[in-house]
Symmetry: C2
Subunit: 263 residues, 2 copies
DNA sequence: CAGTGGTCTAGACCACGCG
DNA sequence: GCGTGGTCTAGACCACTGC
């Protein structure tokens, strides 16, 4: 395979961003170290300051560095915490990589409100604007104070109306156990919708994201055996801090080998 | 709940980006429509052209608009194709939302090479640099010519060496069936690792991504009953075109309700 | 106070696609 | 040729932090 001349004619800000990325990976600056000031870097690379800033902005959006206004630009530690999609149901709680137990849970708001359109879009049996109980939460690393996750739960009025789920306090036990008790039904099926995107302005603010940094967004729909929705829960994480894990058995007898596929 | 004054003191380029986003959502410009030229927009919003460009760049990274050099900036259709994480094993092939069957498969390269570090990082039983058979693929929408997915498969030498998997041609049937035949073992367990991030320069080029647009990256590890790796497959999609779906049964008896959790 | 990054301007020049 | 977006420059001014 021929190595392409990728980048030979790339714009300056990209070539410089690539070079900075390489120097960081090679350990020229360690996590926590401050990079030279943008004016100094601009001089070193023989660039104007705005173009140099554009190069640094690339690394900032990637999560490789973090800029603190008035202080400097620092190399970030590359730590992508692993999280299982099904941790919410209590399995694998003993796994040391589990996150949420270490995080501080805050309820941003709780009460009735209209079902957002992006939630209704993944449900066949609900309309945007339907009144539901909405609980918005924020999870923060108590050690660093860093916001790690922002999310919300949507519970049908028939289950949550006039209950403690309308109160803005952390629930006494795992959320799904509360809902099971109130609904009188057991969780039976789940469907997750995983999206990567850029954050909304609100998310940028709440999560303290740098401009251009993407987020991972999961909408989790839980239903009872009879198919009725018990709870919809959505979570948004800064993309550079998370890796979502999904383990499952393969059932080869279900295979239908008719179509060639490289996947 | 009090509506925050978010954006009242936000930078101009953000306020203008928000306004453009709103105008697009309200249908002032339909998908396919061309936005006014940046100079015209700059005049309308009483901004300098560079700042106006910065605002447009936000929408471009979000996937809301697409700029064609020398032509103009156009509103993109919001279509997020749904794809099941486990389609590769032939289930749900009848689902009309399944993607890969409609796509054109191209083998970019096939042959032996070292296991990349980011793949070894999710395996307990392999080291970066281990020699494996690597098949790199590109999936393209034949109607539009748009690249929709770039990816690779990594198969242990013991299975794929001296076989047709080292040839850069599309395999005659589903990949996992080929590997099962060659290995003499059945696929039994799978583990997926889902990451959202900004693309590498190579991915930006191959997928034709605008600057700042994120990608979704999945590493799929398939093992036999005895725990040996049969195949590792990774896929990268432009984030704005995909929603990954994961369905699974909930087993409430596995719950361990000891820890309060809002998730 | 000095140094840093964040925003914004004004304008030059180029590359691209189309008529 | 002309209008478009893509890149780059030079510099101003501000906001934030830490000494």
């Amino acid at each position: 395979m021929v190595t392409s001349d990728l980048g030979a004619f790339a714009p300056k800000y990209q070539r410089v961003a690539n070079d900075l990325r390489r120097r960081i990976r090679q350990g020229e600056w360690q996590p926590g170290d401050r990079l030279p000031a943008e004016t100094a870097l601009a001089e070193h690379y023989d660039l104007s300051v705005p173009t140099m800033r554009q190069a640094v902005a690339v690394l900032r959006a990637e999560g490789a560095v973090e800029s603190r206004h008035g202080v400097g630009t620092f190399v970030k530690e590359e730590r992508r915490l692993q999280r299982r999609s099904r941790d919410r149901y209590g399995r694998a709680r003993k796994d040391s990589r589990l996150l949420t137990a270490h995080l501080e849970h805050t309820i941003l708001s709780a009460g009735r409100g209209p079902l957002p359109a992006h939630i209704a879009a993944v449900l066949d049996d609900a309309e945007p604007g339907d009144e539901v109980v909405i609980r918005r939460r924020l999870l923060t690393d108590p050690k660093t104070g860093t916001p790690e996750e922002v999310g919300a739960s949507y519970v049908p009025l028939g289950i949550a109306a006039e209950t403690f789920l309308e109160e803005p306090t952390v629930v006494p036990k795992a959320m799904f156990l509360c809902v099971e008790e109130l609904a009188g039904k057991r969780y039976a099926q789940a469907r997750d919708h995983w999206i990567a995107r850029l954050p909304t302005p609100e998310e940028t603010q709440v999560l303290g994201l740098p401009t251009g940094a993407p987020v991972m967004h999961v909408i989790h729909v839980a239903r009872a055996e009879d198919g009725s929705v018990l709870e919809v829960s959505e979570s948004v994480w800064p993309a550079d801090r998370i890796m979502l894990i999904d383990e499952y058995p393969v059932e080869p007898e279900a295979a239908m080998p008719e179509a060639p596929s490289e996947i």
